[in-house]
Chain length 413, copies 2
């Protein structure tokens, strides 16, 4: 526990969310108010911006714009997917980071991201500690996938879940409008964890949901899928809405949408997308019904106009708590949410060792998935419903959102 004085730097990493900048707003607001923090920097494009000394002096930004960050989707500083090598294999990047940290007297480092980013954050934390440069390092979680270990849920998930649930309700009404058959197959993001796909069950809870929900947690069987769709159609005037995760896999571990994959990203994950169209083709062939594949695509993670107020407030607070913890001498931790016991929903902000958060994926518990593998239990609804409460969004100017515009004045030394 070291109480340090010096500059802080904050960076955003990985896929954005519609509320990711609420954490930026939280970090910046709190850091600017802390006496022991002598300068507040925001790195362009995550760790890359630090390596290239490409970061902004947040002290030069207008307070109003920092407030608008809460309602502005997508990483305002720019994001990155950059995998640091193990320092034992190649420490070039680490040496460079240390050089930059020393040059700008960076004593606080906040990294905002998901699993891979917490791994990066963990590696940097460990390197700084062994190199003898005092620097408190705190991770701020972020992911619509909701798959980070050790936190009740992840900043960004509630808003994406609200988008999915609301949009499934609206599509449900639209897809059933004709008296002719129609199968809708909706594809939701989530490589290995089905949390976001599962949020379609919140629409079910409102009576306008999906007939079938398929998560990556349950091995996918094409024949059973076609039989499931046929069953629903037989009972329901040839109408069926199925929501599938982009990450559904066959029993042998192969992604259902895999043959569409054309590349792999730097972390070795397959580039997914388009599984709804794969399934639409199969259903069309097997049933002869009209089938529509719908990808919620980028909208599910950038629809800030439909963000959860609860999510925005928690995400903002997560940023503030990260700064408070670091200033109080904490390091090598990630901020996490702990749900309090009791009927009313309430969370506490705690800290988790970074090595526990890094690279561990939390899946939807098997006991929350119905026995037939195509639905979620009430336990899931009880878990997820508090996370999508309330509306909050950017003010409208000319009927359209007024998002934050940062000056992005480059820091110099």
């Amino acid at each position: 526990m070291k109480n340090l004085k010096g500059a802080c730097i904050f960076a955003q990493s990985g896929g954005p969310t519609s509320v990711i900048n609420a954490s930026a707003a939280g970090v910046f607001t709190e850091a600017l108010a802390q006496k022991n923090i002598t300068a507040v920097y925001g790195a362009a494009h995550g760790i890359k911006g630090i390596l290239t000394e490409n970061f902004y002096d947040i002290g030069k930004e207008d307070k109003e714009e920092l407030e608008l960050l809460k309602y502005t989707p997508s990483s305002a500083l720019g994001s990155v997917r950059y995998k640091l090598k193990d320092a034992s294999v190649d420490d070039t990047d680490y040496k460079r980071l240390l050089e930059v940290f020393k040059k700008y007297d960076i004593r606080y480092f906040f990294y905002n991201g998901g699993n891979d980013s917490m791994d990066t954050c963990n590696k940097i934390s460990k390197y700084m500690a062994t190199s003898g440069w005092d620097c408190n390092v705190i991770g701020v979680p972020k992911t619509i996938d909701n798959d980070l270990y050790g936190t009740d849920h992840c900043p960004g998930y509630g808003s994406a879940a609200k988008y999915v649930a609301t949009t499934v309700m609206e599509v449900n009404l639209d897809a059933k409008v004709y008296d002719t058959g129609m199968v809708c197959i909706i594809e939701v993001m989530g490589r290995n964890a089905g949390w976001l796909t599962a949020s379609a069950a919140l629409a079910n809870y409102k009576g306008l949901g999906a007939d079938l929900i398929y998560l990556p947690e349950v091995p996918f069987d094409m024949d059973k899928f076609v039989a499931d769709v046929k069953d629903v159609c037989a009972k329901n005037n040839n109408k069926c809405i199925a929501v599938v995760s982009e990450g559904i896999k066959f029993a042998d571990g192969k992604y259902v949408g895999e043959f569409k994959a054309s590349a792999t990203d730097l972390f070795g994950h397959a580039q997914l997308g388009g599984v709804c169209n794969v399934l639409a083709s199969v259903v069309k062939e097997k049933t002869g019904l009209k089938v529509r594949g719908i990808e919620f695509s980028l909208m599910q993670r950038c629809a800030a106009h439909l963000a959860s107020k609860t999510d925005i407030e928690e995400t903002f607070r997560a940023g503030r708590e990260a700064v408070k913890a670091a200033v109080a001498g904490e390091t090598d931790k990630m901020v996490c949410y702990v749900r309090k016991e009791g009927k009313a929903y309430e969370i506490e902000y705690k800290l988790l060792p970074l090595e526990l958060a890094a690279n561990t994926e939390k899946q939807v518990p098997k006991e929350w998935i119905t026995a037939d593998g195509t639905g979620l239990t009430q336990d899931f609804v009880d878990y997820a419903l508090p996370l999508i409460q309330g509306d909050a969004k950017a003010p409208l100017v000319d009927g359209l959102p007024r998002f934050a515009k940062l000056k992005k004045v480059l820091a110099t030394k």
Copy 2:
């Protein structure tokens, strides 16, 4: 001009919009208040529900639910695509309609839809007139395509345009988040008129729009398109957002997405969709950049949570005006919007002969498209911006919209 006493029937037809039920609410509210209207019926699935005597007694519905219709997307009564033959060729359907009208003493007929539906409405109006059955027939326009002749704009367009403009802004921020190249090709509905695709220009007006916009009004040239994308990428760090209409056509009239088409609908239009993926493949091959095709799919016409308040209010009023006109003795007309002269946006509700509205498509004026064919002028922005103003949506219960639930009590006689 005949002032009639008797029942009225209202039906919805064609593709739904996020505010189509606001017209239903307007018709029902006004009809229930009119002394000369003895019963108010709502037909299931458009004209088909009348032919099969499958319609609901709206007098049995709760007032609160009728109010919620304003904020409930997709045709609440069910829709249909059913093409009436010319009565001179086959008058079976017309005779049946007359039979039903007589049985239920239907003296007012309101039909809500787009071009094809106004054609149906026109045919029924003419048949009733020649058959001697006094019945005042009024069409209520509806289409996100905004392509109906004789009205300044169409109910439903403003909300879809607000969805497109807002979502393009959000996707713009998301798609530009990495420091690597990314081309986004967004596909928007619209067979032959580019009004909805053009609304992406409203996002441009806010500085977060599309680099390139392609409408069906301009013949599409694949080589020019690729060159356009390359130009934008060269100037813009290999990032480009292109918004294309599903209905873009080559100079020879063939749809760019045509080879994807697998069927034609009953009106002989090609079933479109997927053109963004066609173009994404081409751009990927020609540039080697990362490319993402995004279809706004059903969401652009059912996202009631993002409806324009102006659109909802006008659409509701269009329903009321239809009833008022019919009760005042008008028939064989469609309600239309006429924009008043002057700086402040204001419209008047007028009536247009049905034969003028039927089957005529209004395209985006050539002079509102920029010379290079990839953008819209300020005149378009001035036209469209007033239509997307204000927010209004269903109340939230448990963080999700509370849509109308009709009892749908079948009418009997």
